[in-house]
Amino acid sequence: MNRLEQLKNSGNKAFVAYVMAGDGGLHRLKEQVQYLQGAGVSAIEIGIPFSDPVADGPTIEAAGNRALKQGVTLQKVLEELQSWTFDIKIPLLVMTYLNPVLKFGIERFTTECRKAGVSGVIIPDLPYEHKQLVQPYMDKENIKLIQLVTLTTTDIRLDEILREAEGFVYAVTIKGITGSRDELSQDVKTFMQKIRKKSPVPVYAGFGISKSSHVDMLRDDVDGFIVGSAIVEAFNAGKIEEIEPLIRAVTTA
C-alpha cells in the first residue's frame, strides 16, 4: 500500500521534513533520514540540488550549492536511496526542479524513483499547465505528483488544481521564496480554510514554517506542516535536536 495513503489515513497532523541531499556529503543523507524518522516525522522530502533554484531562499540555495560542490547529482541520490537496507516506515518524497529530470529522462526518473521507494515528487517549476509532461510517467509507476497552491493562485485555477490533486496539496503560506519567517499573515489562515474545504486530499502548509507559533496559528486549518529551511539550517549547524520541539508541536495532539 502506498505510504502516502497510510499517512492520510492515520488521522494525525503530519510533519514533513525537508533535507537537502548531499549537504555535507551524500553519505550524511542516510543518517539524516534515519534521525528524522526516529524523531517522529511523518514523511521526508529529499531535495535535489540545482544550480538555479528560483523558488528557494538563501538557506536552501546555500545548502544546494554545498551539495553541488560535493558532486551530488540526481542519479547519485537515487542510487543512494536504492542502496538503503534499513527499514523506511514513512513516505519518501523527492523535490527537484524540472531541468535535472529532463536531462535524466522523465521515464527513467520515474522508474528509478519507484525502485528507490519514492512515494511522491514535487517539481516547483512545473505548473499545473505543463504537468502532462511528467504525469503519465508518474501514473505508470504509481508515484504521486504533488501540486503546489499559493496565495496568488486564482479561484478558477485552484479548483482545477485541486480536482486533480493527489497525495497531498502543498499549500504555500507566503508570497515569496522558501525560508524562515517571523510572522505569518492572517490571510494565510483564511486561505488554508478555503483550500481544505475544497481539497480531496490532505492540505500541508509549507514555506516559512519555523516556529511553534506558526503551528499553533494554523494547526486547526491544515492537515500537516512542511519544514525546510529550519531543518537544513539545523543540520548544517549541527543542532538538529533543536528541531525536536517543533516536530512534537505538530505531531502531538
Binding site: F50, S51, D52, P53, V54, A55, G57, E61, N65, L68, T73, L74, Q75, Y97, L98, N99, P100, V101, L102, K103, F104, I106, E107, P124, D125, L126, P127, Y128, E129, H130, Q132, L133, P136, Y137, D139, K140, L148, V149, T150, L151, T152, T153, T154, R157, V172, K175, G176, I177
Partner: protein, 598 residues
C-alpha cells in the same frame, strides 16, 4: 486552429514525420494497423511530449483499456464499437467516441454521447468506423453539437482537408489511409497533410500559444502563474489596441529618436571586397542600444496593468540603463539586479542607472553574472508579485515574454525592410545580428522570416573558443533544458546543472537562448555561428576605423562574422548588419584589451 491527429502509426519514421501533429493514434483493435502495447510504448518515445497519444479500440474491456493506458502510456482513448455508457464513464483519461454517419438520424446520436469528444466518420467496411471514404459533411449542418467536441475523420487527405475544416470547424481532424501509399504510411504525405492544416511553420508557432515548436512554455513557480497569466491577457489585449500602438510609437519617435537610419557602409564595403554592406543603427537610440525599444513597450504595459514598480536584471547594463531611463521618464519605482562581476566590468552603466534613480542590487551568488541576476530578479518578483512588473530584457523567460519582447523589437526589422526596399528596391541577401538571449536578432529577423530568399545569420559568443569551457555558444553547444521559465537550448552538464557561460561581452554571457531562436535553429530557417572574444575585438577596431562607428562588444560579434560572410558573397549582393548598440559602455574593456593601440 484545428488540431491534427495522425492515426494508425506502426513505424518510428512515420511517428517522426508526424512530429508537428497534435495527436498520434495507435490502433489496438484488430486491423492491418494493429500494434501491441509494447510496440506502441516504443513508438510513443518518439512522440513530442506535448502531443496526445490516443489508443483506438473496438469493444474493449475496461481492464484492457486500463492496461494499455498505463502501459504505453496513453493520454486519450478512442472507442469505435458499441461501448456502453458505463465503460465511457469509467475510463480515467479523456474519451473519444466514434460514430459512422449515414443519415441525419446518426447525427442525433452524437449529442447523446457521454464522451469528451465525438469522432464522425464514413460507415466502415473492414472494421467499425473507418472506410477511408469521405461522408457527406453537410449532414452535420444544424446538428446541435459543440465544434469543440467534434473530430472529423473519413477519407481526409491533404487536398480535401481544408474543405472539411471550413464546413465543420472541428476541434481536430483525424487521418489514416489519406496519408498512405499502397496501404503503408507515407512520410511525405503525413507532412503534407499537417502542413495543409497548419500552414507553414510561422503559422504553426502562432498556433500553439506560448510555444515555438517544442520550445517556450511557462515553467515558473506557482506563485508567479497569476502574474504571468495576467501579463499574457494584458499583452493580448494591448497588442490589438491601436491606442497602445500609437503611444508606443509616439515614444519611439519622440523620445528614442526613431526611425534609425540604415547606413550604407561604403568603406566597409570596399574593404571587404564583397557585397554592399548596410548597418542598422540601433546604436543611435537614446541610451545607446536596442534595449530601449522593449523597455518602453513593457513599461507602458505595466502601467496599463496598474503596476508602478519595476524589477529588472542586466548583464552589460544596457537593459538596466534603458529600464532605469524609462522608469525615470514615467516615474516608476525601479530595482535592478546585476552580477557583482558585471558591476565591476560596467561601472559607467552602474552609475548611469543610479543617476537615473534606480536601485542597483549587486548579486554575489553563482558566477555573479547575468544568469544569477535573473535568478535574483525572479525571486524578487515572486516576493513582490502583486505590485511589481518584471521587465525582462531579452526574448527569454516564461510566455508571453519571448513573444512580447520580439514584437517590441520587431520595429528594427520592419524599419530595415522598408528602408532597404527604398534604397535598393529589393530585400537583402543576408542579415546578421548578434545573439545573447537574442532580442535584437529576433527583432531584426522576425519581419523577414517568411522571405525565404533572405539568409538570416545569428552570431553567438564563442568566448575563448567553442572547444574550451569558456564560451557562450548556446546553440552550437547547448542541449534542451528548462531555465528561467522556458524550455530552450542550454549550456548544462550531464546532470542538468546549468553551466556558467563566458564571453568578453557582459551582454552575451548567458547560458540560454530565446526559445524562438532554438526553434528557428531546429527548422534551419536561421543559421547560427559563433565568434571568439579576439575576433570581436578585432572587429571593434576595424569598424571604428573604417566607418567612424565604435560598436558595442555584442554588436562586434555580428560585424566579425560579416567580414567572413562577405568573402563568400559577390558585389551584386546586399548584406545588412544589426549594430545593436554603441561601444561607450565597453570603453574600459577596450582600453584594457586594446592597450597597444594607444
Amino acid at each position: 486552429m484545428t488540431k491534427v491527429k495522425i492515426c494508425g502509426l506502426k513505424e518510428v519514421q512515420h511517428v517522426q514525420a508526424a512530429s508537428r501533429a497534435d495527436a498520434i493514434g495507435f490502433v489496438f483493435a484488430p486491423s492491418k494497423r494493429q500494434v501491441t502495447i509494447e510496440q506502441a510504448a516504443e513508438l510513443a518515445k518518439h512522440v513530442p511530449v506535448d502531443a496526445d497519444k490516443i489508443g483506438v479500440f473496438v469493444n474493449p474491456s475496461l481492464k484492457e483499456i486500463e492496461d494499455t493506458v498505463a502501459g504505453v502510456p496513453l493520454t486519450m482513448v478512442q472507442l469505435h464499437g458499441d461501448e456502453p455508457d458505463e465503460l465511457v464513464k469509467a475510463i480515467q483519461v479523456p474519451v473519444i467516441q466514434a460514430f459512422s454517419i449515414r443519415t441525419k438520424e446518426d447525427v442525433v446520436k452524437l449529442k447523446q454521447s457521454l464522451a469528451d469528444y465525438v469522432l464522425v466518420d464514413a460507415p466502415g467496411t473492414d472494421y467499425r468506423g473507418g472506410s477511408g471514404n469521405v461522408f457527406d459533411w453537410s449532414l452535420l449542418d444544424g446538428a446541435d453539437i459543440d465544434p469543440a467536441r467534434l473530430i472529423v475523420a473519413g477519407g481526409l487527405n491533404p487536398e480535401n482537408v481544408h474543405a472539411a475544416i471550413e464546413q465543420t470547424t472541428p476541434y481536430m481532424v483525424d487521418v489514416s489511409s489519406g496519408v498512405e501509399t499502397d496501404n503503408r504510411k507515407d512520410t511525405v504525405k503525413i507532412q503534407e497533410f499537417i502542413k495543409s492544416v497548419k500552414g507553414d511553420f510561422v503559422e504553426q508557432t502562432m498556433e500553439k500559444v506560448g510555444f515555438f515548436g517544442k520550445y517556450g512554455g511557462q515553467f515558473v513557480p506557482e506563485t508567479l502563474m497569476k502574474a504571468v497569466k495576467e501579463l499574457e491577457d494584458a499583452y493580448n489585449e494591448a497588442k490589438d489596441d491601436p491606442e497602445f500602438h500609437k503611444e508606443y510609437h509616439h515614444y519611439l519617435s519622440e523620445y528614442v529618436g526613431r526611425e534609425q537610419p540604415l547606413t550604407y557602409a561604403k568603406r566597409m564595403t570596399e574593404a571587404y571586397g564583397g557585397p554592399k554592406i548596410y548597418l542598422k543603427r540601433e546604436d543611435l537610440n537614446h541610451t545607446g542600444a536596442h534595449k530601449v525599444n522593449n523597455a518602453i513597450g513593457q513599461a507602458l504595459l505595466a502601467m496599463r496593468m496598474g503596476k508602478r514598480k519595476i524589477v529588472a536584471e542586466t548583464g552589460a547594463g544596457q537593459h538596466g540603463v534603458a529600464t532605469a531611463t524609462i522608469c525615470a521618464l514615467f516615474d516608476l519605482d525601479c530595482v535592478i539586479f546585476m552580477g557583482e562581476e558585471d558591476i565591476k566590468r560596467q561601472q559607467l552603466n552602474v552609475f548611469r542607472m543610479k543617476l537615473l534613480g534606480a536601485r542597483v542590487e549587486s548579486v554575489t551568488k553563482g558566477s555573479a553574472t547575468l544568469k544569477d541576476a535573473v535568478n535574483e530578479a525572479l525571486r524578487y518578483w515572486v516576493t513582490n508579485v502583486e505590485d511589481t512588473h518584471y521587465l525582462i530584457g531579452s526574448a527569454l523567460g516564461p510566455h508571453p515574454f519571448p513573444t512580447m519582447v520580439r514584437d517590441f523589437q520587431s520595429v528594427i526589422g520592419e524599419e530595415t525592410k522598408r528602408q532597404i526596399l527604398e534604397k535598393e528596391g529589393r530585400l537583402p541577401d543576408t542579415i546578421l545580428a548578434c545573439i545573447g538571449g537574442g532580442s535584437n536578432a529576433i527583432g531584426m529577423f522576425y519581419p523577414f522570416i517568411q522571405d525565404k530568399e533572405v539568409e538570416l545569420i545569428g552570431v553567438e559568443a564563442a568566448g575563448q573558443g567553442v572547444d574550451t569551457d569558456k564560451h557562450a555558444a548556446t546553440l552550437t553547444k547547448g542541449t534542451d533544458g528548462v531555465l528561467h521559465g522556458a524550455l530552450m537550448k542550454l549550456l548544462q552538464d550531464d546532470a542538468g546543472q546549468v553551466q556558467e557561460a563566458h564571453s568578453i561581452s557582459a551582454g552575451l554571457d548567458y547560458p540560454g537562448i530565446g526559445p524562438e531562436h532554438a526553434y528557428l535553429a531546429d527548422i534551419g530557417r536561421v543559421e547560427y555561428r559563433s565568434i571568439t572574444d579576439d575576433e570581436a575585438l578585432a572587429a571593434v577596431i576595424s569598424m571604428s576605423r573604417l566607418e567612424g562607428i565604435i560598436p558595442a562588444l555584442e554588436s562586434a560579434h555580428a560585424i566579425a562574422e560579416a567580414e567572413k560572410q562577405a568573402k563568400q558573397m559577390t558585389a551584386d549582393q546586399i548584406l545588412v548588419i544589426c549594430v545593436s548598440g554603441r561601444g561607450d559602455k565597453d570603453m574600459a574593456t577596450y582600453a584594457e584589451k586594446l592597450e597597444g593601440l594607444a
